[in-house]
Amino acid sequence: MIPLIGLIAGIVLGIVLEPSIPQVLQPYLPIAIVAAMDALFGAFRAYLEGIFTDRIFVVSFISNVLIAAAIVYVGDQIGVGSQLATGVVVVLGIRIFTNAAAIRRALFHA
């Protein structure tokens, strides 16, 4: 319950406060969000399988976001930023879909 309330509170806070992201970090925000979604879906699936652990989720989320942003940052420095971003999105996208399918099967048995 806490995560759901936190998520909604975060969205409301973000809309109300409108914190400005530094210009330098702006290109990495979408990638960070995709990584966050991946961590979220993974966590939810782990929760449904009964093996969810807070600590693992926190660590996996932070490392996911940081690594995804770092990959894109390094790619930007060597001139293949958009390609690496595509790679990150593809890999995380596959995981999101797989996890979402498993969640759907676990929830609706279909």
Binding site: L7, A9, G10, V12, G14, A46, R55, F57, V58, R105
Partner: protein
Amino acid sequence: MTQRGRTSTSVRRGAQHRGQAAEPTTAQQPPPMSQMPDASMDLLNQISRQPVDPDYALAAARGTDSSGGRWTLGLLAIIIGALFAVAALQTTRAAPALQSERSELISRVQTAEREQDQLRGRVTTLTQEIATLRAAALGDDDAARVVESRIDALDPVVGNVAVDGPGVLIVVDDSPSAAADARDRVLDIDLQVLANGLWEADAEAVAINGHRLSGLTAIRSAGDAITVDYRSLTRPYRVEAIGNPRTLQARFVESSAGAWWNDLAQNRRMRYEISDVKQLDLAADPGIVLRRAGRATS
């Protein structure tokens, strides 16, 4: 590697739990290397085989106590929500900015075009002024009259002055199937052939969509459009030519340009209409400038 092995066994155990109808993505045992259809697909296979962080299973097996993480989890959820909201806000903010940037560019282009028109008009005025000054400078003797008559004969041919008179109007356009086949479109070379054919048929003055052609006019394609004097044309293309009304059309049709366009009209079904016109008014070519001037040695 031991970690990965342990995860797959635990997942498989879970699958057996739920019976045979378990999901294939997790229940599938990793196939042995010899049966692998393509070893390079291993990365994608592994991603879909092991989508959940293996540490979850590990921690669950260890039975880690997680009471302290509740508040961290809530904080993280708030951060994630804020991330979503901020990113969505920024994207929706950026859309009108892009739109206004685009419309500003368009208005800048239009301003530049208006300025260009003004400058062209100024060129025409100044050309007329040059003609007046020239006439005044030449004076009124016999030699001057010879020069003036030569100027009068050459001016219309080079496109330096506006002319009117009878002539032909040729309207050409892409064929209806141009969207499907790029070869059915009118190309710059087609208009070049058309203009050259008209010169060949002794046309005195030629204009395409109101742009007077001179010996220095470039007919080229730029992007999707054909440009005359570096100004893009819009379809259909109206080619006007002033010349001897009795011979111009016949001679054009007989020329190689006429054959070229007959071929285009018949085989590519392009629009190609040629008609006599009693009165055509062609403006001067504003692109003509004085390139060489010298003091008369008389």
